[in-house]
Structure formats: structure tokens, C-alpha cells
Subunit: 479 residues, 2 copies
Amino acid sequence: MSERADTAEPRPDEERIDDLPLEEAESSHDEDDRLKPEFVAAVREAAEEGDGERARELVSPLHPADIADLLELVPSEERGAVAAALGDLVGAEVLSELNDYVRDDLLGALAPRQVAEFAAELDTDDAVAIIEDLEEEDQQAVLDALDPEDRAAIESALSYPEESAGRLMQRDLVAVPEHMTVGQVIDYLRDNRDLTSDFWEIFVVDEQHRPIGTCQLSWILTCPRAIAMADLMKREQTLIPVDMDQEEVALRFQKYALISAAVVDASGRLVGMITVDDIVHIISEEAGEDILRLSGAGEGDINEPVMDSYRARVRWLLTNLLTALVASTIIGIFEGTIEKMVALATLMPIVAGVGGNAGSQTMAVTVRALATNQITGTNTRRTILREIRVALLNGATVALVLGIGVSLVFWNGHLGVVIAAAMMTNIVTAGLAGAAVPLAFDRLNLDPAVASSIFVTMITDSMGFLAFLGLATAAGLTG
Amino acid sequence: MSERADTAEPRPDEERIDDLPLEEAESSHDEDDRLKPEFVAAVREAAEEGDGERARELVSPLHPADIADLLELVPSEERGAVAAALGDLVGAEVLSELNDYVRDDLLGALAPRQVAEFAAELDTDDAVAIIEDLEEEDQQAVLDALDPEDRAAIESALSYPEESAGRLMQRDLVAVPEHMTVGQVIDYLRDNRDLTSDFWEIFVVDEQHRPIGTCQLSWILTCPRAIAMADLMKREQTLIPVDMDQEEVALRFQKYALISAAVVDASGRLVGMITVDDIVHIISEEAGEDILRLSGAGEGDINEPVMDSYRARVRWLLTNLLTALVASTIIGIFEGTIEKMVALATLMPIVAGVGGNAGSQTMAVTVRALATNQITGTNTRRTILREIRVALLNGATVALVLGIGVSLVFWNGHLGVVIAAAMMTNIVTAGLAGAAVPLAFDRLNLDPAVASSIFVTMITDSMGFLAFLGLATAAGLTG
């Protein structure tokens, strides 16, 4: 790779530049940095033909993250064979990059000793990610096969709740007392060859091993040797309690633009470090999962077994069936009205549907704002009022268009006024419900993304039918 | 703060530990790290009473990111007064952390010279973020007030497309030739005091200033002085072309767990550096915006002016009105059937509604998988088949429950069979459409999140009414 960079001519096309890490970049990746179907097919073919050498030749230029992508793209029934053909190329790093479901699939085929070998190669946090999803029994077998030091570290991590800082942190870090000088720190780092070599900040601790400051490596490198750490370090720091939820951790990293942070136990002692590269995928996951939760799609992972997806989603659809009964019951009340004027049955889904859409808009905005901590007690009322103002404008516009259209098509001004009034009512209701329902769930410490949409849909459906059919009846349209 | 950490007793409660960076942490933040309403109220009160000293006293312990939050939480009509009361505390860093809309609001009140002073204090990328959203005229005035060097850097950044790597990168970086040794690099860093002191990796370049390797600072600190950079650096690196879209950049940082990356121009020369702290908020934004796009909520920012939100959303609702007409027209075809059996009008929204929900689930899963590059040509067909299998299971379950329920309630087995068959048909259609529509848009290089839901809803609504009313007619239910 570096050879190519050395001798490269000016390269105007993006693909060739941004894929520099991979020797066969042009042939393995498309312009979006995804593996090309032809490349994946070639590897599958080689594996199928038992030509492990060819498979390894193709794959060896890839980054571990890309090898993980490759295994995810291979159909599950071929995955074991492809992994076997690739041999050592499927190392611990690849495993730690793999999608959870795909990894479980692969690990299931390995002996505990092999899994233990992988785990031993990794930082504690990555090893824990591999082991935590195994069945109890397999987990124990892998732990038994580890050497005592690795085992103790992993067991200790596993003792923290799932998705907590304790699971995310690594124990290998550099902590020094504040009286050390820059020169002494550099000498200490050079002399202790078994220290981790992957760290971005040094933590300064007191005698009780409690963090009192942080020092970026760049500050150490740009300072004279005689400067004391106490004078160089930044005293304001964001400490992460070991039991903090990973979503909170991700929000702190984002808000304070952290590269790494000290993790402390209940007594304030430094027990580990979390680095931003372990956080970026959590930030993405947490931000992306609201969309899945709002629609009741569960984990929403395309690698999830079909039966798991079915169980998660059917529960939601059955709940939806119940709430749809509410809307249906409301229509039932007005059967007599509909009998007299079937056009009402034709038009009523419009009022419910557009209202539902308006509710989704407000709900999406509110759920995102809650997830990013933008709404607090200070601006809750203001946020709801803002949504109502937008809803009034939306409602007026849509009602006007719909009212005029219906008046003209059915040549019935009364019907036009009734449907316009119903539409206006439903869009304003949608704006209110779309903001208030998620806010109420959040206040009750329930996840607003999970519970809101069932309620909001029920409200906009019911109100849509009620307002339209009710107003039509009250206006004596059919009389 | 550090004093408290020094003398602290064991502190079991999370709030006190994780807010250590702020001296008045207990009184300003709640357990989710959000500013408490009482705290915001106290600052607003002080500002209103003209007691700037009190306001500054309250706010001075806050991190710039928290001061930005504070200004966002203050109602827009008071914002200018609060910012004025806080004086110097609202510095360049606070501005760069502010929500775009809130910042424009505040900057509008400042003279170009003041904005220029802020911009001069910041890294290029943050300065660009502040200036890029100003009106053309104001932008020019600010640029004129900058000193020539800052101005050139910012103008050059502004010459790259919006949301591209060129806008995100900073120019202050450390690049060294490969023949230098670790010792020489350290001496160079110590001697050049006007180098940036915020960097995490050093780039190694050839004579044409093209990056040929990257070196983490921790490797430099843990190595003897005599080692050559050429032997220490990692040659595989992810280079970012200067015109790459920020969403792509974010995906690279995520996939390859980058802390910083070199930005290169079309001829492969190193022109800047992007660091992960500037990327985390983009990762979160990009992952979170799909939910807003799917519902047609535009930017979906609670700080957006009401008229902007109205314009973005009403366009979507009017489009939705059009597609609802399609469903309405289908119902119209069956007016005769409904007239004979009004119960059909009562039940038909159930088939359409639950189908719509099933479509949303599949669509959410597909849109997320596309956004995270999990779907390629290799697994497109497999993904669609997977969704259809889930849909068959969901459809069978929901159809069975609904069919039995309707048979019993209406004491009409025929009606039960018809609604079950319609439900099954619609859920399978929803699964197919929910997967295929976003995939098709992606294939056409259109954003699947923006365009899909209008189509999928239209399909599930229409199919819901068509299948139910059509089967009812065909089965001679009303005959």
C-alpha cells in the first residue's frame, strides 16, 4: 500500500484515494466503501472449491473490519466454510468487529479453547463483547480455558450490568502520580514495555488512585521535561461511574468531545478507561434505534434470526390490532350515518391518515429531541406550544385544500366544510399528542420511542373518524 | 473540583461522581446531565434584573457545552439579554457548541468585528461552522475583519462543498518526513511552540507532502529516541479525499475506529486533518435524521423557526393527501358493496392500519441497514426474502387472530375468512414493499429515508382496502 502511495501519480478519482488501506482496493470495494458483489462471490467460490489459498490471497489485503463485513455478507449456511478457508485471517480483531448474531453463529462452531485464545488476544472490552452473549455453559468453558489474569479481568467486567460502562472499559491504561515530571513520565513509559501502547491520554491520580486530572499526550510531547504533571494536566474532567448506562456514556463523550475518559468505582477510584473508538458505534446505534423502536421493529438487525424478528414484531402488530379496534368501534357508532351517505366511508380514511402522518412528524421531532437531551423541564411547555403552532398552520393549509377539493368533487359545500373542520381538528390533535405523549412517557422514565407510536396512532385514528363522522352527523349532512 | 476529588468520601450516588467537572454540579445538573429548570430560572432572573455579576457567578463553573445548552434552553426573546449578562463567558467555544438556529439568532445581534474576533480564536473547522450559515453579506463583512492568515484558511475551507471533508478539517496538524527519528520528532515538537498542541497522531509525509504513514503519540512516547519514524509508523491508513461527504467520513471513522485521519487533495497531498471529536456529532446526526426523514419532519430541530418547520412538513402532508386520494378512490369503487354491508366500512381501517404498521417495521429495518452499509448487491435478494418470511409468519398470526375474532363477533364465518385473507395479503405486501421500495430508491441513488414512506403507506393503504373490499365482493358476502 505505502509503495503505491509513494509512487502514485495525481489521482483525481475518489475511489482510488480513499481505499488506500487495501491493496486490492479497486477490485474489492465500491465507491461507498462496501465490498463488491463480485469480490464476495469470488471468495465464496474459492471457499466452496476448497481453494483456501486463493480465498486467503483475495482477503488478506482487507482490514479486519472489512473481513467482518465479508463474513456478514456470506449466507449463513456458507459462513462456517468461508471462515474455515480463511483460517488465521479470521482473528480476534475480526470477531470483535462482527455483528453480534453473525459472531454467535460462528463461535457456536468453535471449541471453548479456541474462543479463549481469541479472547486472550483482545482488550478486556472487546473480549467481553465476544463472551457476554455466549450461553452460560459455553461462557464458563471459555473462562476456564483462559489464563488466571485474563480470566479475572473478564469476570470482573462481566460482574457489571450489561450495557454499562464497566462492560465497555478497558483496564490497560496509564496512570501516574501528580508529582512526576514530563521527563519522568516519558522515561517511565519507555522503561515499562508491558504497558499498553494504545492510549491517548494519561490519567493523574492521588494516593488513593482517584483521578485528579487528565493530560493529553500532545501536551506531554510539546513540553519541556522539567514541567510537573500537576502543572500540565487539566483538572476539569468527566469521570464515568462504572455502572453508568452506555447511552449516558455516549452522550457525555459527544457533549464534551472526549477522546478518552476515566471510569471510577463507587469510592471514586480509577478502575478503567473508555476510549472514543469504543463509543462511536454506540452513538450510532443509540441514535439509530429510535427509528426501529418507534415502528416496533425490535432489534431491527438484518442478521437477526427470522423467529426472533417475528416474535418482536408480531407482538407489536397484535397490540396495533387492539388499538385499531378502538377506531373500528368508533366507526361502528356511526354506521347509521354511513348507511345514509356512503361517500363518508370513502373519505374518512383521508382524515385519519393525514392526521396520523402529522402525528408521526411531531413524534419523530420530540423523540429525537428527548434522546439528545434537548428538552428539559425548562422548555417542555414551550416545545408543546411550538408544535401546536406548527400544527395550526399545517391544519389550516391541508383543511383548506381538502375542503375546497371535496366541495367541488362532490358538489357539496356542507361536506367540504365538515371534512375541513375534521381535518383541522385531527392535525391539531396530532400535534398535541405527538409532542405530549412522548414527553409524558419520558417523565414516567419510560422509553418514549417504544411506547409512543401505538398511542399516538390510536389517538389520530380515533379522532379522525370521530371528528369527521361526528361532525357529519351533527351537521345533519345525511338528514 | 479537583479539591473535592482529593478529599471526597466514598460517594455511592451517581450524580455527584459524574458531574465532577462542574463545581456547582449538584445544583446545576439533574441525573441525566441536563441543566435543572431551577438553575436556568435563576440565571434568567439574574439577567432580567440586570445582575450580570450574579449570572456570571452561577454560570462560570459550567463547561462551554453546558453554557451552550443554557442559551438553547432560554426562550429566544430573552437570549440576547442573557448572553449580554454573561459577557465573556459566551466565548468562541460556546458559540461553536451552539445549535445552528440559536447561534444564527445570537450572531445576528453582533457586529461583524465581534464575530470575526470569535472566529479568530477557533480552529478552522469550528470557525467555518460559525461563518458558513451567515448571510452572504454578513459573511463577507466577517471575512474582511479577519487577519489575512485566518481569512485565507477560512476562505479556502468555504471553497469546498457544504458538508464535505474540506469544511470539517483543521489545517493545524503535525507532519514529519519519514527519516526523522522519535527523538528528533520530540525535539521538533518542543522547539516549535506555535504548533498546535491538540493532536492525537502524527502524519508522516514524503517530499511531495503526501501521507505515507500515521503514528499514534503513544507509540512515540513508549519508544527509544533512536527509532526512525519509518519503522514506527503504520503504513495502512484511511485517507479522506477533501471533497468526501461528511456522512461517508463518519462511516469511515466508525468502521475503522479512527481517532484522526489525514485529508488529501486530488493529487494526494496532505491538506488537513479530521479528528474524531468533530465526527461524533455527525455520526449521531446522520443516524438520527432517518427517523425525521421517514416521517417527513424536515430538519426536525426544536429550535427551527416555526415557519421553516411548517414549510417542510406541510409539503409532506399535502403529498400524503394526494396518496390518500388513491386509497379513497379504491374505496369509492366498492361503494355498492359497502352500502349493502356497512360492517365492511367499520372493519376496513383495521386491515389498512395493521398493514401500514407492518410496512413501517420492515421499512425502518431496511433504511437502517442501508444507512449503515449493511446491504450490498450480495445480500439484497436475501434481505427481501428474509422480510417476506417474517411477513408470512406475522401475517398468519395476525390473520388468524383477526379472522377468529371477527367470525365470533359478527357471527359470520365468511366475513372472518375474508378479513383474514385480506390481512394476510396486506401484511405480506407490506413486507415486500417495506423492503423493496427503500432498496429501489437506494439503487437509484435517492435517499431511501426521504422517499419511501409515502410510497409504502400508499401501497399498504390501497392494498388493505382493495384486498378486503375486493374479496368481500368476490366472495359474494353481500350478495
